[in-house]
């Protein structure tokens, strides 16, 4: 993947750029930034089947966001589920288990050849972000130093970097955000600081486990604290393998923008991705 800034606005920090998705040999898509990613559920925009996608402007509509957690499957429950479905008269109870089984194992996705293959969207760019503001909400109170807890349609799951990277390597997206310990603005300073420490550590874990060649976007947290955001940004910038950064909280957008641009970040961040509270994504 290549990114280049083409022009800057005269008095602000806005810029026009071009994102070149070239991770597969035949894939050569150039997307102008700022760019809006289409939100998807399990890889496809909610009501737009792939034969209708070409009716959207091209190539602007060729970048799709997805959450790997949409595909989560709960292996351990499968035996119990079968037991309940066969022997239980409590069909609703069985259904509860059955529902959590509706996912795709990473093995199956690998067998199919990755997400582009599975979705029939070889001409599109896929961006993986763990959180999805509608169905995969981070639960900061249940997160711990091992991983982030998400509330998903198939229940509460604690996702560790190794599990996340397993999903990423089977799905092979063009780019992905690393696992972040997201906390709301009202947590204590201590908790906020811990979230930055964890996020940076998980960034290193993800980088170590990275095998797919997708571009890594280091997640930036820090709540409403400028210092913490700055510290996080500096740490992310320090890692040479991060292609870009991913912000997760719109409310602290301006703090982040400041921290990225400040001279202390040490190295120019190539590309920045911001996910706002309402679930849509913009790349600036």
């Amino acid at each position: 993947m290549k990114f280049a800034v083409k022009a800057w606005s005269k008095n602000g920090r806005a810029r026009v750029g071009s994102l070149h998705l070239g991770s597969c040999p035949h894939l050569s898509i150039e997307i102008e930034t700022p760019a809006l990613l289409l939100t998807t559920r399990k890889g496809l925009p909610v009501f737009i089947s792939p034969d209708l996608l070409p009716s959207l402007p091209s190539p602007d509509s060729h970048l799709l966001q997805f959450s790997p957690l949409h595909f989560i499957t709960v292996h351990g429950l499968s035996e119990y589920a079968e037991f309940f479905m066969l022997y239980s008269s409590e069909s609703s109870f069985a259904m509860g288990f059955a529902r959590s089984m509706e996912g795709l194992s990473t093995k199956t996705i690998s067998n199919i050849g990755g997400l582009h293959q599975m979705l029939g969207l070889q001409e599109y760019g896929l961006a993986a972000v763990p959180r999805d503001s509608i169905v995969c909400l981070p639960e900061h109170e249940s997160s711990n130093k091992m991983g982030t807890s998400f509330e998903t349609p198939s229940g509460r799951h604690l996702i560790k970097p190794v599990e996340y990277m397993e999903m990423i390597s089977s799905m092979k997206p063009n780019l992905y955000a690393t696992l972040a310990d997201e906390v709301p603005a009202w947590v204590s300073e201590k908790r906020n600081k811990a979230s930055v420490d964890r996020t940076v550590r998980w960034l290193d874990d993800c980088l170590k486990l990275s095998t797919t060649g997708g571009a890594v976007f280091g997640s930036i947290v820090g709540g409403s604290s400028v210092e913490e955001s700055q510290r996080c940004a500096q740490e992310v910038a320090r890692r040479n393998d991060t292609f870009g950064v991913a912000w997760n909280r719109f409310t602290t957008f301006f703090n982040h923008a400041q921290s990225i641009s400040s001279p202390n970040t040490g190295r120019a961040i190539k590309s920045q991705y911001c996910c706002d509270e309402f679930g849509s994504s913009t790349s600036t």
Binding site: K42, F47, L104
Partner: protein, 360 residues
């Protein structure tokens, strides 16, 4: 004919329907009259324009939905009295009103209001319904304001009684209508009786007019009725079963919700050429079905494609003289024994009919 109840086939755009090869769609008068009302559709230039469908449309009379959906529908000589689902007021659907609504909607084929009874009912009610249907057809013909643009089809009633069916057929044929439907057969009766009635009607109806078997849609039923000489069918089955996660395949049905589908990386139907089977695996659709709208959309697309292909295969096997031996179209529910069973049913169904034309 796929059923587009509210002016749309659930989950599919009209461009997709064109691509699949649909030529005619059914719209439900009852639902359309409720929302957005036939007057609005008329104002906007008719249903074709409203739903952006350039090909053919057929509307039913509204009577069937009324009887099946509303608890307190009551049929009198005047028409069908019911409680309006909007405000509970008593309302009346007369043959005249039904035709006027259909005139406003603007479909190419419109259906007469008939007095439909379930085939499981016995007794004088069936005879009453059949004669009333004949009286109502005259009122429908009189009320029809666009006979040069819209084709009014009559509906043959009479339950499972061959004598009543015969009287009804004769009565409708006397009115020289553009086409005829065989009604009252879409629920509950046993298959032998069903086929017998269809055979009797198709034998008695004019050769040069279309015969429409209403509400018939399982693939096997369509094949059998085609063998008996019917021409048109409508059913919600392909799209409704798709929304429950079931795909139609040559071997029968495939329940995508089943846990075994979670690892299956084959397409839904390896022999199918549709967009869904060319791009997706059973595993992916399994993770979508019943949880995400996209699952229903993809399966609806495949199921309709399958039904259209079934039609085309029927056509070509009839033309090429291979019907009913055609292996591809006829490999339904998995075995040739099924076909031999069917053949053994055709002959008696035809023989048992008392119509002079069929007597062998």
């Amino acid at each position: 004919m796929p059923v587009g109840t509210q002016g749309t086939i659930k989950g599919l755009t009209t461009s997709q329907l064109e691509e699949i090869g649909c030529q005619i769609i059914l719209g439900n008068t009852y639902h359309l009259a409720l929302r957005p009302t036939s007057e609005l559709i008329d104002q906007l230039g008719g249903l074709h324009k409203f739903m952006n469908w350039p090909r053919a449309l057929l509307t039913d009379s509204g009577g069937f939905q009324m009887v099946s959906l509303l608890h307190l529908a009551d049929i009198t000589e005047k028409g069908v009295t019911f409680q309006s689902p909007v405000d509970g007021k008593p309302m009346l659907l007369t043959p005249e009103e039904s035709i006027q609504i259909q005139n406003r909607i603007g479909a190419d084929i419109i259906m007469a209001l008939d007095d439909v009874v379930k085939t499981t009912i016995t007794g004088p009610r069936i005879e009453e319904a059949m004669y009333r249907t004949l009286r109502w057809i005259d009122r429908c013909i009189a009320a029809h304001k666009r006979p040069n643009e819209q084709n009014l089809f009559g509906i043959v009633q009479g339950g499972l009684d061959p004598v009543l069916r015969d009287i009804c057929v004769k009565g409708l044929v006397d009115r020289n209508l553009p086409g005829y439907a065989i009604g009252g057969l879409a629920g509950g009766e046993d298959k032998d009786s069903f086929w017998r009635v269809v055979a009797q009607c198709t034998a008695a109806l004019p050769e040069d007019k279309p015969r429409y078997v209403m509400g018939v849609g399982y693939p096997l039923d369509i094949v059998v009725c085609s063998a008996l000489g019917a021409d048109m069918y409508d059913c919600v089955y392909p799209t409704r079963t798709a929304r429950f996660g079931t795909a139609l395949i040559p071997e029968g049905v495939l329940k995508l919700k089943h846990q075994a589908m979670a690892d299956d990386t084959r397409p839904v139907d390896p022999s199918c050429e549709c967009m869904v089977c060319k791009n997706y695996t059973r595993a992916y659709i399994h993770c979508l079905v019943t949880k995400d709208a996209m699952g229903s959309q993809l399966l609806s697309y495949h199921n309709l494609y399958y039904m259209m292909k079934l039609s085309r295969d029927l056509h070509s096997s009839i033309i090429q003289g291979r019907f009913p031996d055609s292996p591809k179209a006829m490999f339904l529910n998995g075995s040739a024994t099924r076909w031999r069973l069917l053949e053994s049913i055709f002959l008696p169904a035809v023989l048992h009919s008392r119509h002079p034309k069929i007597g062998l």
